[in-house]
Subunit: 241 residues, 2 copies
């Protein structure tokens, strides 16, 4: 089983000026791959903070992803922070300079040259039809914050990540959570390995709670689903997906 | 200046089944109050993890907010985790039991009684017309994950939080970030206290970069805006907001 952590880097998210859509995107993608996303952390554009969290995430999870802070301006400090996290200097990548000059058709200005400074030892991975590659430092995958680019770049290297996909059954229930809580406890006593979620919804005309039953084991999930249906009785179940 | 940290608690966010809208909501609200949101962390429904992060956030920020995990089912473990964070036992709140029984018009079942267990010493604060109050333990404000309730509850106690609001000017620029990076460096050298953000946009027909200039000092912001406009020249500026 593989685990992952996601670092969202950017003052614009914390100040509410921009809504982070990269987290929900990556959460869904990793789920479908069967990789367990264990933590999402949003932090400001501050080198020491980013470096500390990159170091700690890199040690804690199989895959780490960062979003944001890799452009050419003063507030783009992710790359130097990743270098600092691993105690490496930032060095000009000649192959990246060449690649960028080919893409823009002229010599790089100082701001663009900054984008070609990578942590020593970083891998440069082609990102499909995008001119700027994906940079990977040990298990840390450095992505841009712009959602269109984040998504394209993730898709371009999606094959590198693998896990055992989780199977999901949703059961929509017409009772309040507190009325079915005992049934859920009973179910978990019988199926301790089941991942069971209970989510009340307001304003849904047809149901009050969405239950999610999840397992990496198909047969286990099926048995648990059957057991829950017996506990709840059909009158309480609006639908099963 | 006041600071804040936000803990989003819930497997459903990490697995991509539910999109977290409470973070962007609270980020905008705190910004308009002038409170600096410094960190947003999404973690699973695990007591030890929640307790550790609540303790660390409580020490680091003036205000801490938690979202999720306070319902009546097995996966609602936030309240006991907050108790553990402060080394307090969970105790039945008689006033809360009474309030809940009045609201539902009958004796509480075991699942509902669980919702009346609070960390010893927690404050119970009326939440406007909502039957379930806001629970506050030291500087930690415990909110439900359901967006409608999260928002209503925040509004009901919004007056408790205060800071010095930040003034914002947005400048939309028709050039690439790398073309204006030097101008931004010059601006920051002249106005080191300015909060300056640079956000490239893809697919906008009229501009390529949104710049944000922010300060708590009106006059400072005005001078910085004027200086930047002179540096960039009018031809590059699409509009100012």
């Amino acid at each position: 089983m593989s685990t992952a952590g996601l670092l969202i880097i950017g003052n614009e998210i914390l100040s509410g000026k921009v809504v982070d859509t990269n987290s929900p995107f990556l959460a869904r993608e990793l789920r479908s791959l069967g990789v367990d996303l264990e933590r999402i952390l949003t932090i400001p554009d501050v080198v020491e903070t980013i470096a500390e969290e990159v170091r700690s995430f890199s040690a804690a999870y199989d895959y780490v992803f960062t979003s944001g802070g890799i452009g050419p301006t003063h507030d783009d400090v992710t790359m130097e922070s990743v270098a600092a996290a691993f105690g490496k200097p930032s060095v000009v990548s000649d192959s990246l300079v060449e690649r960028m000059e080919r893409a823009v058709g002229k010599q790089l200005n100082p701001a663009m040259k900054k984008m070609a400074m990578l942590p020593e030892g970083a891998q440069v991975i082609d990102a499909g039809d995008l001119w700027f590659p994906v940079i990977v430092m040990e298990n840390v995958h450095v992505f841009p914050g712009i959602p269109q680019l984040f998504e394209k770049k993730f898709h371009s290297i999606r094959d590198r990540f693998s896990g055992v996909p989780v199977k999901l059954t949703r059961i929509y229930v017409t009772r309040y959570e507190s009325d079915i809580a005992e049934d859920l406890h009973g179910l978990l006593a019988e199926f301790p390995e089941l991942m069971l979620g209970s989510y009340p919804r307001i304003g849904e005309p047809d149901y009050r709670v969405m239950l999610t039953l999840e397992s990496r084991d198909d047969a286990y999930l099926e048995r648990a689903t059957r057991s829950l249906c017996e506990r709840l009785t059909a009158a309480v179940i609006h639908r099963i997906e």
